[in-house]
Symmetry: none
Subunit: 196 residues, 4 copies
Amino acid sequence: MSDASPPSRGRPRDPRSHEAILRATAELMVESGYAATSIGAVAARAGVGKDTIYRRWPGKPELVFEAVFTTTDEVPPPDTGTLLGDLTALLQGLVDEFRAPAAAAALPGLLADFAADPDLRARIRGDFLAPSKERLLVVFERAVLRGEIAGETPVDLVLDTLAGAVFFHVGLVGEHPRRETAALLAAVVAKGIEVR
Amino acid sequence: MSDASPPSRGRPRDPRSHEAILRATAELMVESGYAATSIGAVAARAGVGKDTIYRRWPGKPELVFEAVFTTTDEVPPPDTGTLLGDLTALLQGLVDEFRAPAAAAALPGLLADFAADPDLRARIRGDFLAPSKERLLVVFERAVLRGEIAGETPVDLVLDTLAGAVFFHVGLVGEHPRRETAALLAAVVAKGIEVR
Amino acid sequence: MSDASPPSRGRPRDPRSHEAILRATAELMVESGYAATSIGAVAARAGVGKDTIYRRWPGKPELVFEAVFTTTDEVPPPDTGTLLGDLTALLQGLVDEFRAPAAAAALPGLLADFAADPDLRARIRGDFLAPSKERLLVVFERAVLRGEIAGETPVDLVLDTLAGAVFFHVGLVGEHPRRETAALLAAVVAKGIEVR
Amino acid sequence: MSDASPPSRGRPRDPRSHEAILRATAELMVESGYAATSIGAVAARAGVGKDTIYRRWPGKPELVFEAVFTTTDEVPPPDTGTLLGDLTALLQGLVDEFRAPAAAAALPGLLADFAADPDLRARIRGDFLAPSKERLLVVFERAVLRGEIAGETPVDLVLDTLAGAVFFHVGLVGEHPRRETAALLAAVVAKGIEVR
DNA sequence: GATTAAGCGAGACGGTACGTCTTGTCTTGAG
DNA sequence: CTCAAGACAAGACGTACCGTCTCGCTTAATC
């Protein structure tokens, strides 16, 4: 119906350019890292003019963010029956996400650029953490119903703690990806916030 | 005994240049941020040639690190009598350090540059976290003696969790520095790692 | 056929930049001299980025050469009816060229840079002297027909002598530009190479 | 007499440094050329501090001049009995001087630096050409007595012509050192200035 | 024999230019 | 209106050299 479709005059944007740019960005992220990757290099590898990139993204941070975190967290929140189980599953997802080559290479620089720009700064909580926060909220709601935790548990602080822990331990220090890390961390936090 | 003192040939380095450079760096960090601060700008403000900077530091990351973390953590580890008290004190120190204007402005970009360079990467754990780790170890030892925690508590993981949490919550998201944040976080972690 | 015209892709070079750069170069030559003129200063005065200069010229020597010897020697060879008259006219042209403020300021340094670089060295005879040589050849041909000189007169040596004499007397020593200098020199050389 | 000998207090200058510096300068002139030779490089090769050079010479031009033109023209003026013979001998000396490796490498840059500095500019005629001029004057005096040339022959112009010709032909264009060049040039000039 | 003053090698110092790179915008002609 | 190509102004990069300075020595001439 209606749809208020844009007039769409002139030549339409080529969707293949879009894909090629994102692919080139992800590849360069792995090969050269965030700082050493320039928009010009992305354009050259994608076989695309620089303007074609600037027409779609305002700058490197936004481009890299989209190229590296394509996996839109549409995964449903875990439901294992216990807070510990849910937290472990959730953390394991976080760890896997931070360990992906392109993400691991991009994250520190990406976060730095977002933090440096006042406009982007607000989007850290919004775009980076929002999906995880939503799932954490569901997990907490269920835990409250089960009587495991109190209602006023500080979600944001817990989320920052989990994300920060994974970022430091895996993304930054580059610690070898121990399988038990997620479980260990989940255990500490779950026990720490449980009512008893 | 060895001695190995350098023969000290040629004109010795002027310590006033050293200080002027560090001061200029810290100021520019606050005024312009990490990424927008160039070595040339530091040199100009310090009234110094660029070579005088490059002669002492290999690059921006090392310079900024020294300029911003002058507070040599010689503070003795806290000893309040309880794990919770000690952790709260320790965390409060971390929060204060991350909230200092120059440090807050520098941290994200600084960590990104350290993480991007293989040589510097190893120094994150060494130079950034080592002082805190040492004090955390003492706190843990006392807690073990008191029977509050088990001997095999994973220090590195806990340290990364605390640092990561503070970095995300204060340094990155720029959350207003709530007085109770440190206490709240300490409470969760202390409870999470206690034996009972 | 061939044509070999470049496909002309991308934005064409702005001819106004070209002109502005050459004008700025000539001005700086007069004001500061060859050695004290930097590419950066030329760019700043022309209101142009340094790359815009390096995109068109490989270095300072080539740029200055084009800026200072714009007077494409399309002047027809003199034809006064006698060897002496022709030589005098030709030499007067050389003196005037070497006395032009920009040329006088640039010549010693320019020749030095050309002589120092093996690639440019060959262009001294080609680009600097070629136009004059062509006209000298015509003058000599006519003089041979008139029976004034022999056919095997060494053109290159005479040309180097004339150019060298003017360069030393006017360009280098900075001798005041006496009106009779050209005539005097022409008289000596004309008499020196005449058959009788 | 008096002499006004300097009091000469303190340690006298080491003559071995003097020699080492001049030798290093001449060597570097041949190996790297004038422009690419820095005072620092000379000092390093001579095993000497930069100040030891600056204490004796005001700058590169003066140093190189002394290093390259050590052969103080104490050679007596030629006396072959004819103007042509004398001029040929004189020119042959000039050619030989300009063809010496160190001199050939240094000359264009050296002249450019002398010409660029108002203070040094005057010394071109003085230091470079004076010895040759003195000998040319003697040759001319004898030729006048013999009746070969007139008394008012313009010595300076002839000297500039000879020097300029050799500089352009041998030093600048790097023409192969033809044995007959000097004779040919001498013939032209001698005939050009003779009374008949 | 002690003092003094300059010479000496080394190298730090404030400046400045180098030629390359990246940024985000602009300007072509072709689709 | 998009696209690939590439020019454009701005300015940072890390290196090299300049000519001066500041060290701790050494080396004579003077006291």
